[in-house]
Point group: C2
Chain length 64, copies 2
DNA sequence: ACTTTTTGTCAAGTATATTTTACATTTTAT
DNA sequence: ATAAAATGTAAAATATACTTGACAAAAAGT
């Protein structure tokens, strides 16, 4: 899978580390890293939680 | 989880059965049924495939 | 230069998404 | 009314999302 640069960028715009985001969405830092690097296929609930934490919508971060 | 009535409605609008949709997105009919009934938490790739099959976006079918 | 924070990654384990098989119920068509 | 198609659901098996613990490397701060 491809890297999610939109997510990485949205997180950077809020000056938030992977660990901070991970804590906010109740997953591990490794999971956040894997999602950003396209290493796997997250569940929709995790995607929604990430969007809310980054003030974005699904289309903005995960639609093609 | 709550039922996904927007998805059910979008599928009905195309006069498509759960089985037809399932075939298009390469999952079983039971999985489509479970997603519509909110019985679990699908992966983002499945959600994207469903959106494409129903000519909708993630925000239209899965965002709150 | 050094320290601290952040990130990438890996291996082994656990939780859960998805499949398979199967049967009952509801809806639609004749 | 009856048959056929569509849907709900459940138990057991498999695939994979996610965790835990750990180490190395890159980036940022002093």
């Amino acid at each position: 899978m491809a890297k999610n640069l939109r997510m990485k960028s949205a997180r950077a715009a809020l000056d938030m580390s992977q660990e901070e985001l991970a804590k906010k969405v109740n997953v591990t830092r490794q999971t956040v890293s894997a999602v950003e690097n396209g290493d796997y296929n997250p569940t929709i609930n995790l995607c929604i939680a990430i969007c809310k934490a980054l003030n974005k919508t699904l289309d903005e971060l995960f639609w093609e």
